[in-house]
Symmetry: C2
Subunit: 640 residues, 2 copies
């Protein structure tokens, strides 16, 4: 990233980063050994790979779908990241063969799309609003860039660049060019990636065109022929006003955050302050008023969309896995432009809670929607009415619209990009864990070797290993959730550590072996929501460090909503080695109704003081919920 | 009603009943002067009357719909009740002219249906499951019976009987007969009404056939050709098992309760104990586990259906107005078979809360769904997504599917039928108010003259006026909500009044002018819901007498969910003469968050003890909500 902002930083390439063990290594390993193969299997089963051969004919099964390409190339992107770090001949051959199919499917003028090239080749670019054509192109660009960076392969990159050239010729403001942008953003940030790989300015211009054109008059989305789906209000597509005038996060949450990430990319590349200000406004709109405690966004299933301020229902939460990944993309770009811990806080919140909850512990099943409370009877009784719930609260191996599983795969295959970055004279540690990374700074090269059981433990030891001693700033994030923390340098506690924008800054002449130990207090905390979040009033959620906890029926019995946490008693964390691969659990004291007081009545006069019995409760990390069978679950629990 | 049950009672005919003034008289008057004309206007505007002429041709506006007939004849039924009590030449002429249209539209063999006879005459009786044909027939029978009883007119009765004869010939178990019943019950209870008017046994047999056949193998609903709509599970149609085996209230709530009312009618007429036991089981299923505090039923909009036990969401409540009317019909039949106050309690709860809330104070606008909480932003922001909410929380003059307005009209035009009944030697007062009614008992005739500001006041004075002194039992309901009450006879308090099944029983030789004064305590009460109702835990609803109260934004500010009622302080009722036509309001003390504690944050660590400020709140009767502009509303409020 060649940001114009003076403070901007850039992550070290994935090849320079590795996990040494623990929580994160397991996440990466499960992704590589389970998730990536499982997703490819699902593509093969459902005809998504076959579709690229353009051989489908009416009457055959598995009719190609308008956004199948995006599924497949997101998987390629994930597989590519993985190959760059863990060579795997068989996987590489598989990736190359699929990329060759795409190359072979390319029209002479550069166009690639297995749906249009098979089903209705004459209709290409006629329904940009609904048919995800440039969205598919964008994901193909990202995959091409990732594969090229990982293995040097141009098998997908050359077709991608030729396709990009077609788009550049087709779309724009010059005479004879089409006026248009895509109903589902993605092409913007993806084209910037091609630009960063090639350095070719026309790619940046193309990306900037798509960002700038959106929401201007005449609206680029109104040029639609043969619309297949219903039209939403323009705000649903973030096209109600130009990018620079956007201030409220509206519409489809994934589209919105992909767009905001693209806006931030253009702002970073061009130094466009107006665009960056718009990014900051929509950031606040999301983070201060429209984000679940889990980092989930897009609260309604109806259109997978943002609704209005503070409208964050728990049981009906949509909070699509892809939307939290999109929020991470946006957060990462804001963080790199301006290293403020508030951006990393959200990135981490979304990653550790919604995105990790989006995949099963075994890595082979996925949530599309990430509810914050679950009542199984909604999904499993004779009154289940057809079509009531498109995404029930059990993880599945794939979906008709199966965007989330490959998004999870590419995210976990590229985790290192979110953990660290460096600017000319500063190196940043954003998320903690067992990892090693090399950085090239102005004054020399340095590697950091970090050891921590984070996110389960708050002790973070970072050993600095410069090739030769030189001066730079070591910037360690002080998470927003850490109310207490301390730091030692080479065994000596720093009495008055300096913090800048939520980062602990240690500036010195660093020598190999210098060790910084950060201790973040991880006492469990009860968190409350803004009083305007009508679903959470009178309730608390339990957090410990960056992890949101939940209570499950298996541990706490039915009717979780009847539990009232007693905050006058301590919340106690302990590490449960027997649960999953070992997780922290939080236990505490609470009250519950006495069933014997009810005698089958549905309503009765309330006692002046509720008659309740004292019970214990046990909470587990939300990202591990629904891995022990179906049952009730909830994050926000009444307080006594 | 010629019930075989020894204890059964029957209401005095509407012509013997009148309201003397007050709350109920206003309800009846507004219904007559506003609602009945408004509903007819809507029928005319939308082509529902024109449709009966069978003159619609393709290309013309207002294509007849499969259940339009039911709308019109429900209105006729309501208008007929009104004519029986308040003659009105113009209205009578209007009713007669519409009835003539139906008579003229009748096929030579007796068939009546403006949709089928216009659009696809060859398809009659081919899709009993989806197309509401017998449902429309049933409402026509009810209208015909009501008009005949009210004015003696046979204009609709004769065609109805001819139509019934066609059904009797067509459907049944004899050789050559069709096996079938209707996807939307109504024909069962309606055919019993024709039986009661004519005394002709074949009508009772026809009704019993429809009740008995439902849910047997082969299923009468499976005989469907040309289905237009999606198939639900059989339980949705109460057809998963025979009537006598039903035990859980499932599926479409209106269909269910119309069916249960029909089952109860057959049980009453035949003395079928097995059928009555099934009625009692589904009654318990509704009343103990699936009914809102407002008497609303059918909690989900998806299929307008029951869901599962204790699943009673407030903001998403469906609680269709028609469903609560259907529950009243069922409750009334159970009450007449077995005079227990628990049936009258539910009848009154549904009437005074959901049904009355279903119509505006001015009588000209209607709710279809009756939410128990409202957040206006769900319906009025740029994120309103197409199709999200079929029935927003504002009353409208009519709907595409406009079943509720005429149902309200016929209910309020026949209110007296729910207030009183008599058996051989007992006279019952079920609902109190300013009314007079004549009864024929075994020992002689008697009129009751009751004076009370009920439901706003608990003092009920009943003067007994027998034609000549004779002995009978005066049975006055002691409502389930009345925790304290007392009674005086001719000014002297009865020390040990006898109660039977929730009715105060006074047996004596009654003389004209004997006066009974019942005093029901109407202190406001905070009510709580069963702990398994997950939406209500930690919350209370305020009731005063039979009325459920709610808080509105106009009186209490935004963010009603942030209010915590302090039950250690008294709830105080006062009569607000300036509000509507004068209503009781309930005021009390509560706590609220301090916005200044939040400083824009969406989440923050909870204080061990919540920092709240003390506020006052004001609640109004729920049945008057949304009559003073849009705003938040809620019934279930957090307790401190």
């Amino acid at each position: 990233m060649s940001s114009k902002a003076a403070s901007a930083s850039h992550p070290s390439p994935l090849k320079k980063f590795s996990f040494a063990g623990g929580f994160w290594k397991r996440a990466e390993d499960v992704n590589r050994t389970e998730t990536i193969p499982a997703v490819l299997d699902f593509w093969k089963e459902t005809g998504r790979i076959e579709a690229i051969k353009l051989a489908w004919k009416p009457g055959m099964p598995n009719r190609p779908h308008i956004f199948w390409d995006s599924d497949v190339v997101k998987w390629i992107e994930g597989a590519a990241y993985s190959l760059g770090r863990t060579p795997d001949k068989k996987l590489e051959a598989e990736v190359e063969s699929i990329c060759k199919l795409y190359a072979e499917s390319q029209s002479p003028d550069g166009y690639i799309n297995s749906y249009y090239n098979t089903i209705e080749p004459e209709k290409r670019f006629t329904n940009l609003r609904d048919n995800h054509e440039l969205y598919c192109a964008g994901h193909l660009f990202e995959a091409a860039a990732a594969l090229y960076e990982a293995t040097g392969s141009r098998t997908l990159l050359d077709p991608a660049l030729k396709f990009a050239a077609l788009l550049s010729k087709t779309f724009g403001r010059k005479p004879g060019q089409r006026h248009g942008c895509c109903g589902h953003e993605e092409i913007e940030l993806a084209t910037v990636k091609l630009y960063r790989i090639t350095g070719e300015k026309w790619l940046l211009d193309l990306a900037a065109y798509f960002v700038d054109e959106r929401g201007r008059e005449p609206n680029c989305l109104e040029a639609v022929e043969g619309s297949h789906t219903k039209a939403w209000p323009l705000a649903y597509y973030q096209a109600d006003k130009p990018a620079r005038e956007q201030s409220e996060a509206n519409g489809h949450a994934v589209r919105a955050c992909y767009f905001y990430a693209g806006m931030a990319d253009i702002a970073a590349e061009t130094g466009d302050k107006e665009l960056l200000e718009a990014c900051k406004r929509v950031w606040d709109s999301i983070v201060l008023r429209r984000m679940y405690i889990t980092g989930g966004i897009g609260s309604t299933s109806h259109g997978e969309a943002f609704t209005f301020d503070y409208d964050l229902p728990n049981e009906d939460a949509y909070a699509e896995t892809c939307a939290s990944i999109a929020l991470m993309l946006f957060a990462q770009r804001m963080l790199l432009i301006s290293p403020e811990s508030k951006y990393a806080d959200v990135m981490e919140r979304a990653l550790l809670n919604t995105v990790m909850a989006g995949v099963s512990f075994d890595g082979r099943a996925f949530f599309y929607a990430n509810h914050l409370a679950n009542k199984p009877e909604r999904y499993s009784n004779i009154n289940v009415l057809p079509g009531r719930n498109p995404f029930p609260p059990e993880r599945l191996k794939g979906f008709g619209c199966s965007c989330c599983p490959p998004n999870v795969a590419r995210l976990f295959a590229s985790l290192g990009l979110y953990f660290q970055s460096a600017s000319g004279s500063a190196v940043y540690s954003h998320i903690y864990g067992d990892w090693d990374c090399e950085f090239a700074l102005v004054g020399g090269s340095v590697s950091l070797s970090q050891r921590s059981a984070y996110p389960y433990d708050g002790h973070v030891a970072t050993v600095v290993k410069p090739a030769k001693p030189f001066s730079f700033d070591l910037m360690l994030r002080v998470p927003g959730w850490a109310s207490k923390w301390s730091v030692k340098l080479n065994g000596r506690r720093l009495a008055k550590p300096e913090t800048v924008n939520g980062y602990l800054k240690i500036s010195r002449l660093w020598k190999a072996g210098d060790k910084v130990e950060l201790d973040l207090d991880m006492q469990p905390v009860a968190v409350e929501g803004h009083p305007s979040v009508r679903f959470n009033t009178g309730r608390v959620a339990i957090m410990r460090g960056p992890l949101v906890f939940c209570i499950e029926e298996g541990d706490n019995g039915k009717d979780l909503n009847d539990i009232r946490i007693d905050l006058s008693k301590p919340l106690k964390a302990r590490f449960d080695k027997a649960l999953f691969d070992g997780v922290p659990v939080v236990e505490g004291s609470a009250f519950r109704s006495k069933p014997e007081d009810w005698n089958k009545a549905l309503y009765k006069a309330a006692d002046a003081k509720p008659k309740l019995k004292r019970v214990k409760f046990k909470a587990i990390p939300y990202n591990r919920w629904a891995n022990r069978g179906a049952g009730e679950m909830q994050i926000w629990t009444l307080r006594a």
